[in-house]
């Protein structure tokens, strides 16, 4: 019994300590209601296609000028609810460098569904050079590459603020409540009314941040829906199997005790 009390008190200690520790230069982002975390432990999570389509629009009109999305194929956009023709259309708006051709030359051609999103810069150095030495990371895995990824991304995009008294941000840097160290080399990329929505959704910073996060959460974890649906089936199967094995075991052991 006292072991149990000991354990519980240590766990409580752990929690209180963790909360106190969070007061350093890293602020834990508040949790947001995401559809992909739907249900207990997110077991019924699903992606909201309308939100992802709006997020794609924001990516293409805003973020894409600095950030690549190099792990996503145009054909993957099917998951956003687009049909083949629409995807072909989106892809063809990009110019892809291909080749070499029979004559040994590289050539430009319109994008195809089997291409990946085209990166804005030829290489990392070019990306840094264009951004005052700060590297805009590829966004295809961003929500997995940060703790509490989607919450963090939303908090980051909406978390720009004036630096508190006594703090200075030098040229090219911006104060952000949620960025570790607070000094971020990305200017606030989004503001109210910046991107026009066709479906009547509010054109606000808050809505933009939710939509781009939703889209990037999908980009980082495109098999989430399939994974969770399979998981439910597997769990149900295993639970039934466990029940069967339990009764088999009971039957076998009858009289042996």
């Amino acid at each position: 019994m006292f072991i149990r009390i000991l354990t519980v008190s240590f766990v409580l200690l752990g929690f209180s300590v963790q909360n106190a520790g969070a007061a350093g230069d890293q602020v834990s982002p508040p949790s947001q209601p995401w559809s992909f975390y739907n249900g207990p432990a997110g077991v019924f999570g699903y992606y909201d296609q309308a939100s992802m389509q709006r997020g794609l629009k924001i990516y293409r009109e805003v973020c894409a000028s600095c950030h690549s999305l190099k792990r996503v194929y145009f054909r993957n956009l099917e998951a956003l609810g687009y049909n083949e023709a629409q995807i072909k259309n989106i892809a063809s708006e990009y110019t892809v460098v291909d080749g070499p051709n029979d004559e040994g030359d590289m050539f430009d051609r319109p994008g195809k569904p089997s291409d990946k999103f085209v990166s804005p810069f030829a290489n990392d150095n070019a990306a840094k050079y264009a951004n005052n030495g700060a590297f805009p990371p590829d966004l295809s895995l961003i929500t997995k590459a940060r703790a509490k990824g989607p919450d963090y991304l939303y908090a980051l995009l909406t978390g720009y603020a004036q630096p508190p008294a006594g703090e200075h941000v030098s040229g090219g840097q911006h104060w952000n409540t949620y960025f570790p160290g607070h000094k971020l080399s990305m200017a606030p990329p989004l503001s109210d009314g910046q991107v026009s929505y066709e479906d009547g959704s509010p054109e606000t910073l808050d809505q933009y941040a939710r939509d781009i996060t939703h889209f990037l959460a999908w980009a980082a974890d495109p098999y989430m829906e399939e994974r969770k649906k399979t998981g439910l089936k597997v769990l149900i199967f295993l639970l039934v199997f466990a029940g069967v094995m339990y009764s088999v075991k009971k039957k076998v052991w009858k009289g042996a005790h």
Binding site: A242, M245, K249
Partner: protein
């Protein structure tokens, strides 16, 4: 191999094979009718579960290897291609990734079972040692495997851990460069790690074979820790334990599947989804959760270990062993040899500890002369003479020559640097498991009949958990602190906070800050870890009075209705 008095099989094909190579006879003997104690609880499931995990890892691992590319420029991308473009690739990778964690969960429970029920004792010492070897191989395999996806934690975890070996005297640098295949963790490291990660599981498989072989010679232990006395104490393995193990395994798989499908990245670190970059160091480098207790032990040794401490510890150990092994006249030994061993040891400990632990005290100048007051004076006196500081002539103090002399003296005085000490402590903490059968001389196996041993094993388990927590936190994290002394100065300290150099005035010397930080937490529980094996277990082995053992397993099982067992 036992084919002489073989029983015939009805199936002609089976009989044809068995008469030429009695594989079915052996299988039946070892897994069919194998006599197994009838009183196992569910702790006895975890060997079979570990076996299932090993097979899972090997099968998923081989398929992953078909799609993986061991090249620093391509490794991260190839893993992401598995996640996105290979059919079922995400499932395969998540099974393997979480499989490592669940393999360790199973084996940790399996090892706890071994300690709690005294399974390591005679005649199962070799069986136990083979288990510890499997555990070491698993740690090597998992560590190397974590490097393969070539994310930030892969690179930096590998850098931190492989660097440790440079503390080994004489051959340290050679070991590190051999591991790296160069002068840093780079492409040659990745390719050799891939080759080893492919190889080691099969080595594990071979050792598991030996482990199970040894098990089938001694037979299984059981929750009572008494040997079966006859057929009434055992049951044939099949169907009794095949049915029970399968049920237990399926329950375990429910938890495993939950993580695979609903929290696949929970046990991992987000930084490993950032491609490795030798130019960017992550804020906190943490190994995977199953290494954390050992990582905490590694980091707990922040002090160098001088000869005073080593000789003091040696004397204590000698006196302790003598005292423990002396049967009669323990009292008189105590009086006589106490003076010879323990007092000098204590004296040496104080000297060694002062030199190793107490930071050079606040220096105060009075009339331009360095002054030490009160206890600081004594401490500085000890330091001056016993670190042989007096050998350095006053005339050269402050010059580089003096510094060089100090370094030369320290090289002789301190054989174990803090870094080497940490490495020794970490490997020592596992080596203790190997000698556990000889540290524990108590004739009774099961903790059920050893009330004190039981409490200490549970405390030990909790403290390994706390060490794990300490391993996950930054070393300088402060859990609790208080400021003693001048109230105004304390107030200033509390508000001046970090790095406010301008606020620092002489009043600060009127305060003492007492704090509990993460390093101290790790040190306290590292101390308990070693004390458990080196002091508590030997003492209990000698002095603990066990409760009466039941006559036989059979009798105990029949009487179970009245008793509430563990």
């Amino acid at each position: 191999m036992g084919s002489a008095n073989r029983e015939k099989f009805d199936n002609t094909v089976v009989e044809w094979i068995d008469s030429r190579m009695p594989i079915f006879t052996i299988l039946n003997k070892e897994y069919g009718v194998f006599p197994t104690p009838r009183n196992f609880n569910y702790f006895w499931n975890f060997g079979a579960i570990a076996m299932f995990m090993l097979m899972t890892m090997i099968i998923t691992g081989i398929i992953l290897a078909m799609h993986y590319t061991a090249d620093t420029k391509l490794a991260f991308d190839s893993v992401e291609r598995i996640m996105r473009d290979v059919n079922g690739g995400w499932l395969l990778r998540y099974i393997h990734m979480n499989g490592a964690s669940f393999f360790f969960i199973a084996v940790y429970i399996h090892m706890f079972r071994g300690i709690y029920y005294g399974s390591y004792k005679k005649p199962r010492e070799l069986l136990w040692i083979l288990g510890v070897i499997i555990f070491l191989l698993m740690m090597a395999t998992a560590f190397i495997g974590y490097v393969l996806p070539w994310g930030q934690m892969s690179l930096w975890g590998a850098t931190v851990i492989t660097n440790l070996f440079s503390a080994v005297p004489f051959v340290g640098n050679w070991i590190v460069e051999t591991l790296w295949g160069g002068y840093s963790v780079d492409n040659p490291t990745l390719t050799r790690f891939f080759a080893l990660h492919f190889l080691l599981p099969f080595v594990i498989f071979a050792v598991v074979f030996l482990h199970v072989w040894a098990l089938h010679v001694s037979g299984s232990n059981n929750p009572l820790g008494i040997e079966p006395k006859g057929p009434q104490d055992t049951l044939p393995f099949n169907p009794y334990y095949t049915a029970k193990d399968t049920f237990g395994l399926v329950v375990f798989m429910v938890a495993y599947a939950f993580f695979i499908f609903f929290a696949p990245d929970f046990l991992g670190h987000p930084d490993n989804y950032i491609p490795a970059d030798p130019l960017v160091t992550p804020a906190h480098i943490v190994p995977e959760w199953y290494f954390l207790p050992f990582y905490a032990i590694l980091r707990a040794v922040t002090f160098s270990i001088n000869w005073y401490l080593i000789i003091g510890a040696g004397l204590c150990a000698y006196a302790f062993i003598k005292w423990m092994t002396k049967n009669k006249e323990r009292e008189s030994f105590f009086v006589k040899e106490y003076m010879v061993f323990v007092l000098p040891a204590l004296f040496l400990f104080v000297l060694g500890a002062v030199i190793a632990f107490i930071p050079v005290s606040e220096q105060q100048f009075v009339d331009g002369e360095l002054q030490y007051v009160g206890i600081a004076r004594i401490i500085e006196g000890i330091r001056y003479y016993f670190t042989f500081d007096f050998l350095i002539p006053d005339s050269i103090r402050g010059t580089t020559e003096a510094v060089e002399m100090r370094v030369a003296i320290d090289a002789l005085l301190i054989p174990i640097s803090a870094k080497l000490g940490g490495v020794l402590a970490m490997f020592g903490s596992i080596a203790l498991l190997i000698v556990l059968p000889w540290l524990d001389s108590h004739p009774v196996r099961s903790a059920r009949f050893r009330p004190l041993f039981r409490i200490f094993v549970l405390l030990f388990t909790v403290s390994v958990g706390i060490l794990g927590y300490a391993g996950s936190q930054p070393a300088d994290k402060v859990y609790w602190s208080t400021c003693l002394g001048d109230a105004v100065a304390c107030e200033a300290l509390a508000h001046g906070g970090h790095g406010a150099g301008a606020e620092h005035h002489s009043d600060a010397s009127a305060t003492t800050i007492i704090k509990l930080d993460n390093t101290m937490l790790a040190q306290a529980f590292t101390g308990f870890y070693f004390a458990f094996f080196l002091i508590i277990i030997p003492l209990l082995g000698r002095f603990e009075k066990a409760r009466a053992l039941p006559y036989s397993i059979h009798e105990a099982v029949l009487g179970k209705e009245q008793r509430a067992g563990v």
